[in-house]
Each structure stands twice: as C-alpha cells, then as structure tokens.
C-alpha cells in the first residue's frame, strides 16, 4: 500500500511502540466507552421518566383555579376605598363552584384548533373506596374514555380488561392495578364508592390499568363522566377540567399561555406541572455531560502526555528529518497524524465498548418495584450519541496532539545535531 511519506513515518512510529500506542488508545477507548454507557443509560432513564410523566400528565391542563387572594374583600367593591377604610377580620373565599362555566364552548373551540390533537373533558372528585369496614382514599375521574385514551395512551397500559368496556357496561369502572390489589377486586367484581358529601354508588370493575407510577396506580379510577355528575348531584354540563394533547408536546408551555389568556381559566403545561421532575431530568443531563466531558478530557491529557514524551524521545529523529529537507509542517503533520490515528481508532473501539456495555445493562433485569413498571434497565441507542462520541474523541485528540506537534515542528535542528 502506498502512503504519503509523512503518513508512512507516522505509521512506522505507531507500530514501533505498540504498547505505548495501545495505552494511549485505551485511554480514549475507556473515555468514549464510559461516555456512551452513561449517556445511553441516563437518556434511557430520562426518556422513560418523560414518557411516564407525559402519559400521566396532560400536555395542557385547563381548570378553574380557586382564588385564595384575601387582600380584597367584597366590601371593597361596594365601598370606595378612596373615601373609607374597610376592615374585615378573617375573610373567607366566596362560595364558588370549581367548574368551568363555558366548558362546552371551550371544548368545541379547542377541537377546531389545529395545534390540538385531542380534548378530554373531565370531572374529578375525591372518593372513598369501601373495602369492608375499611375506607381507602382515592380519586375518581369522570371522562369520555376514548378521548382520555388518546391523551394517556391508556389502551397500552391495561393490565386486565379493555377500555371500551366502560362504554358498553353500565356503571363500569377502570381501576388502577395497585388500588384493585388493595381492594382485592378483579374484573367483574363490584366496588362501592362514597364522596366526601356522603353520596355513594356501586360500580362493576371492567378493567385495571398500570401507568407505572404509584401515585396514579394506587389511587385512581375512571368512570363515565355522567356517573360522576350523578354522584356529585350536578347537571350534565358540569366539568372541572379540560385536558389537551397537542400535536407537538414541546409547544405546551407556549400554548398553555395562549389558552389561559383566551379562556380566562388557569392553564398549566406538563413541564410546569412536573417542574421538580423536569429539574431532576435537567440535572441528570448536565451531570452526564460534565462527567463524560471530564473523562474525555482526561483521555486527552493522556494523549498529550504520551505525544510530548514521544517527541522528547524523538528529538534526534526530528532534527535529522529536518536536516534532510522535511519542513516544519511535515513534522507537524507526522505527529498530528499519530495522535489523530490514536484518537480515531481509540474512539471507534470506545463506541464498540460503549455499545456492548449499554447492551449488557439493557439486558439486566430491573429490581422488582411496585411503583415503576419496567422489567429491565431503560437504555437508549441513539445514533447521535455515538456520532457525538466519536466527534468529540477526535477533536480532543487533535487538540491534545496539536500542542506537542507544533512544539516539535519548531525544534531547531542545529541545537540537537551539535549535541
């Protein structure tokens, strides 16, 4: 094989000191390998978390936020505060119902909005599930189950039964798996619910679901919206929440503001609703990058060290090459080629190592846990993580090799040759 002479010299150098070359490569290999493992695992975990959050939280949630602003009393609206001073002790909120008054209009309006994929009106209430003499606290959501399924992807999360059963069976209820376990009920069993106001109804379990979050699976049930209206003694227009699924969930924050302003109700996006979870995702991402970056930089320093040492050992060779007519740029090219070769091969091996390690982790069974419904460690395999890994590896080794190479190219041959 015919190589340009500079590359040929670089190759001979690398092959002459195989062990040193291998050590330098291993530095890069481990750096990149660990980066791939960490980023795959972390992003897998983050994606799993985001998925769970998204399926349990609507993209946008419109509801009537009960005002707890006590700084103005009703008296202020009647008596002009410019002329008199009103003093009211221990103010309380007005007696208001927490429903959305123009719900039907908002729903039909949102259904025509091209950014909205699905609209699910809801009526939620606190309930007690009666289990013999014991009452278990939980929540009950009245929904149009087909719309709700579009939002949460519930169809895939059913452990037993089917969501369509809710439409066909009168007084049917879909129950969280954890809750069903606590109540010791299965599909076909009857369960009795009571509201805080004292009314109660009996439902037949037609299915159980598992979102993978204890906060939902252990407390929540779904029934038809009219049943909750009946339970609360409200009319058939009574709705407390409107949940939206957007075509593009990353626009939630922007659209929530738009809808809030348009309809005059509190409008919350999923990121705000899960602010603490989003912060932990962000922190994990930052940590992953900081640690990976550190590992690659350490690998870079390893290369810098080895290249500096190599060049120190080859001062005589560099001088003789210069005497024979190799210019400074040739010397620079020789040593840069060496470090970038180490970088490319090391990084490629690192990608392979990283892939094998993440594949190994992917096949590890996840410790059994009643709150999280996964059976093995969440790991992603995204091509761009690998592209970034090799790109960063090459850039690091290039920079690490550049300084010693430039130094080598500036060596004065006369000083070396004269001894």
């Amino acid at each position: 094989m015919k190589l340009p002479v500079n590359i040929d010299i670089a190759k001979t150098h690398l092959l002459a000191k195989k062990r040193q070359t291998a050590v330098a490569m291993l530095g890069v290999t481990f750096g990149i390998g660990m980066y791939i493992l960490m980023i795959s695992f972390m992003s897998g975990f983050n994606e799993f978390l985001e998925d769970t959050l998204l399926s349990s939280t609507p993209d946008v949630h419109i509801y009537n936020d009960i005002q707890t602003d006590y700084s103005r009393s009703i008296l202020d609206e009647i008596m002009d505060t410019n002329k008199v001073v009103n003093v009211v002790y221990h103010t309380k909120p007005k007696d208001i119902t927490p429903n959305i008054r123009i719900a039907q209009k908002i729903i039909s309006d949102l259904k025509n909005d091209e950014k909205v994929l699905a609209v699910s009106p809801q009526l939620s209430t606190q309930v007690f599930y009666n289990n013999g003499p014991v009452q278990i606290n939980g929540t009950l959501s009245g929904v149009n189950i087909l719309q709700e399924a579009l939002l949460t992807g519930m169809s895939d999360k059913m452990k037993t039964g089917k969501i369509e059963n809710l439409l066909t069976i009168d007084n049917g209820i879909l129950m969280g798996q954890g809750l069903a376990n606590k109540l010791n009920v299965k599909v076909g069993d009857i369960v009795s619910l009571a509201t805080p106001k004292g009314t109660s109804l009996r439902f037949r379990v037609v299915g159980t679901f598992q979102f993978g979050m204890g906060a939902l699976d252990n407390v929540k049930s779904y029934v038809a919206i009219s049943k909750v209206q009946q339970l609360l003694g409200k009319d058939n227009q009574y709705i407390t929440d409107i949940n939206l699924k957007l075509r593009n969930y990353s626009e939630a924050q922007k659209m929530a503001k738009v809808y809030g302003a348009r309809y005059g109700y509190k409008s919350e996006d999923w990121q705000t609703a899960n602010a603490s979870a989003m912060v932990s995702i962000l922190i994990r991402n930052v940590m992953t990058f900081v640690i990976s970056f550190t590992m690659l930089v350490v690998a870079g320093f390893g290369i810098y060290n080895i290249m500096s040492m190599t060049i120190q050992n080859k001062l005589k060779d560099i001088a003789i090459l210069k005497a024979q007519g190799f210019a400074g740029k040739d010397i620079r090219q020789i040593f840069l080629t060496e470090s970038v070769t180490i970088g490319i091969i090391g990084a490629l091996l690192g990608l392979a190592l990283g892939f094998l390690m993440s594949y190994g982790v992917y096949n590890l069974p996840f410790p059994k846990n009643e709150f999280i419904s996964i059976t093995r460690f969440p790991v992603t395999f995204h091509w761009y993580h690998y592209a970034f890994g090799i790109g960063f590896g090459i850039v690091t080794t290039f920079i690490a090799g550049l300084m010693p190479s430039v130094k080598a190219s500036k060596i004065d041959p006369v000083e070396i040759l004269r001894g």
Partner: protein, 251 residues
C-alpha cells in the same frame, strides 16, 4: 564598505522573491561564501565567525579542521543552510540560499545537500532501505518502485545490500554510518556535508568510511565537505581549510 555590503545583503535577504543572483563566473564552483559573520549571544556576545569567505569546486573533497571552539562546526551548519542567523552570503549550486524561507530551505536541503553526522542519526524504527528511501520519497521526483531500486543500488554500492531489510537500530556503528552515507546520496545531492563522519568509529571502520568518501569524490565526482578532528583524515583530502578563532588561516 564592509557595513554597506552587509546592509545590502540584509536588504536582499529580506525579499524572498529575489531571483537567484550569480556572482560566480567559474562554472566549476559549487559552493561559495562571502564575508560570513556569526555571533553567539548566550551566555555573552561572542564573535564566532569572522569574515569567512571560501569556494569549493565540483568534485572536491574538502576538510575543515581546527581546535574545538574554532567555529568549524558552526561554519558547516551555516553552509548546510540549517542555521540561518548570520551575516554575509552563501551561494550553493549558483543559487543564493541566504534569505530563503525555512520551507524553501527545507526543500533546497532535500534536493542539494546530503548529511553524514558523527552519530549516524538513522531513524531507528525504520529498516536500512527505508532510511535511504525517505529523502527521495520526500522529494517525490521518482515513483515508489524507482526510489526503492535506486536506494537498493546505493546500499549495494556501499556493500550493505544484505542489511537492507534490517531495522537500522540493530546495525553496528560502522554499518549504520555506511547506511547514513547511502542516505546522504539518496537524491544525488550537490554537496555532502559531514560533521566528524568518522568521529565515532574505530580505526578499521574509519578507514572504510574514509575510503568510501574518497571514492565518491574520485569516481563519482561528488563534492564533499567534512569537518574533522582527525589529522590523518584531513591530510588525505584534496584540500584542507584550517580555522583558528573563527577565521580561515590556511586554505
């Protein structure tokens, strides 16, 4: 007059586009220097070379002798274009090398100058043949197979062909020096510069190397300039330039 001259040479020295100026009428002259002056500044300012001017003809085997510190090695590195901080003018093969850029000089050395050093200075990871091929590959005048053939021929001429594929780090001192001579010949240079080419060899190898150099000058018309300590070596060359305290005292 002196000052004017050095100023003039500096002026043209600063312009790289300067066409080669020919001062030499004698077509036989291969190398000539004019009023070379060189100073060392570390640790103190020291005038190493004082108005050194000489000429070397084609095919001449010239030795430069003198005591340690007389400036003979310094002079060799000036005329071999490795050291560029001097006053005066050097012309090799009718080309003015004073004032060329480092890259131009590198190319010039590659084509016109071969080196033989006291300590062989072969690249230890490469085979003898590869060492001889490197300068030719750098020049890129011939194809790879031609370069290999020519390099092999040179080794053969020096009776080193049986070591062609041996890693040079594993050859003996005398063998290495012979390979180094083959390497110096790689591009059929105008001049071979030797810095104590036999300084590190025993007497038998000294004799072999000297005979090779002599033969090169005799049969191939190769110009050779060698710095040496060895009075016997110097005596047997065509001409001896003797230096004392940075000045040429005898040619």
């Amino acid at each position: 007059m002196e000052e004017k001259r050095s100023m003039f040479s500096k002026m043209i020295g600063s312009s790289n586009k300067q066409a080669p100026v020919t001062y030499i009428d004698d077509p036989n002259t291969v190398l000539s220097t004019h009023q070379l002056n060189k100073y060392f500044y570390e640790p103190d300012k020291f005038h190493v070379l004082k108005d050194v001017s000489f000429k070397v003809d084609r095919g001449e085997f010239v030795s430069i002798v003198g005591k340690s510190g007389c400036g003979k090695s310094t002079l060799l590195y000036l005329i071999s274009t490795l050291d560029t901080s001097y006053e005066g003018e050097i012309i090799i093969n009718k080309q003015r090398v004073t004032g060329l850029t480092q890259n131009e000089l590198a190319h010039f050395r590659n084509e016109h100058i071969g080196f033989v050093f006291q300590f062989h200075f072969l690249l230890p990871e490469f085979t003898a043949l590869q060492n001889v091929m490197l300068p030719a590959e750098k020049l890129g005048k011939y194809s790879r197979s031609e370069i290999e053939d020519r390099a092999y021929e040179k080794l053969k001429w020096l009776d080193m062909q049986q070591f062609a594929n041996k890693v040079s780090g594993k050859l003996s001192g005398g063998q290495q020096q012979r390979v180094a001579i083959a390497r110096a010949l790689s591009n059929d240079p105008t001049v071979i510069m030797g810095d104590e080419p036999t300084g590190n060899l025993d007497s038998a190898n000294t004799q072999i190397v000297f005979d090779i150099l002599k033969d090169l000058a005799r049969t191939k018309g190769q110009t050779i300039i060698a710095v040496t300590h060895d009075p016997e070596f110097a005596e047997n060359t065509d001409r001896t330039i003797e230096m004392v305290d940075g000045e040429i005292v005898k040619q």
